[in-house]
Amino acid sequence: MPWTRNEIAARAAAELEDGFYVNLGIGIPTLVANNISDATNVTLQSENGMLGIGPFPLEGEEDADLINAGKQTISELPSSAYFGSAESFAMIRGGHIDLTILGALEVSERGDIANWMIPGKMIKGMGGAMDLVAGVKRVIVTMDHCNKGGEPKFVQQCSLPLTGKAVVDMLITDLGVFERQLSTGRFRLSEIAPNVTREEIAAQTSASYDE
């Protein structure tokens, strides 16, 4: 049975290490926050200028001056720090963030990612995604293996405008986990969701990858 969205997020959360500074994207990555074990001390960064994102506020304690990058109300922690956008992206671009987990429309077999634009349809802008994939030490993508039309999203070459080239280190879908190897630059299928077969994954993937 393929993993649910929350199971994908839980698998991604297993990649977090004690002491990590992490930036989470919107969608499945947001669910990662609920799956971090209590034993792992992780600091979440919000690119609009905060380290140490706390949980959603209690009703009545919402503060319009305290939001995450998705413009949702959040809360602060005793360890939180605020800063401006220039410093926020200096820490992203400067390689000080250990890990980012992002959603994607497509990932290519060489680690390219497209997640910001569908020409003629979705014209919203890239926000901080291009800075994150270029600057953060490790990039994990969580996404459904196929789109709503059943077509593969893990492809030979992205058809949509790129967010970054050869930047994805790990891909976690509802069917399994693919890790990109430094030596070859190719992905290797390293884990399979329960009761999913290698053949099923191959049939739903147009990218070439190592077994």
Binding site: A64, I92, A134
Partner: protein, 235 residues
């Protein structure tokens, strides 16, 4: 010479003209200089280029200047949640330069710091790199991004003294701090103007050198785009 002005219209008197470039702070609706934006709307100047991370939402913030057709070009990283923006863009009425958020912040920082251009890995191999000079440093490819310097910066702070020293509040700092530096002149609105000496010098987020004119815009309604809460039981 006092920096204090009675209201946004007076604070902007003599500073606005057609075809100018405005650098505007805020992230979504958080920390936007709403009184100053409304005064720009009322002044009716047109053909504006606006540098801002977002473009407000329909009828709020910069969305007001889109509605009146005063903006010719936006330089932004993200413009979702804005139907009027999408309509004008698809109809070819509005020019848009999409710029990665960190590159936008750094282009403004560089503009304010006298640096004409810089190299970054952000956008390498994407359409952001098209037409831009590239260069290799230590085996890595970088693209050259040019700085941004506007004619006028509009920002929102929390507290300021009459020397212009300013403190921001929580994530409302965002682009306000850097936009203040990216033009020869910055007009700021704050929630309270306090006596000189009441802001601890070590606590100043934005030194008064950047802030030439100041208004108190209180009281603020402060709109929330996405209200998310947890219940006591879950806490």
């Amino acid at each position: 010479m006092s920096r204090k002005y009675a209201n946004a219209t007076e604070a902007l008197a003599g500073l606005l003209h057609d075809d100018m470039t405005l650098c505007v702070g805020g992230f979504g609706l958080c920390g936007i200089p709403e009184r100053l934006i409304n005064a720009v709307r009322d002044a009716g100047v047109r053909n504006l280029t606006v540098v801002s991370n977002n473009a407000g939402i329909d009828g709020e913030g910069l969305g007001q200047l889109l509605r009146t057709g005063q903006i010719r070009k936006m330089i932004s990283s993200y413009v979702g949640e804005n139907k009027e923006f999408a309509r004008q863009y698809l109809a070819g009425e509005l020019e848009v330069e999409f710029c990665p958020q960190g590159t936008l912040a750094e282009r403004c920082r560089a503009g304010g710091a006298g640096i004409p251009a810089f190299f970054t890995r952000t956008g390498v191999g994407t359409q952001v790199a098209e037409g831009k000079e590239t260069r290799e440093f230590a085996g890595q490819e970088y693209i050259m991004e040019r700085s941004i310097r506007g004619d006028l910066a509009l920002i929102k702070g929390w507290k300021a003294d009459d020397a212009g020293n300013m403190i921001f509040r929580k994530t409302a700092r965002n682009f306000n701090q850097v936009m203040a530096t990216a033009a020869p002149l910055c007009v700021a609105e704050v929630e309270g103007i306090v006596p000189v000496g009441s802001i601890e010098p070590d606590a100043v987020h934005l030194p008064g050198i950047y802030v030439k004119r100041l208004i108190c815009g209180a009281p603020y309604e402060k709109k929330i785009e996405f209200r998310t809460v947890r219940t006591k039981e879950a806490a």
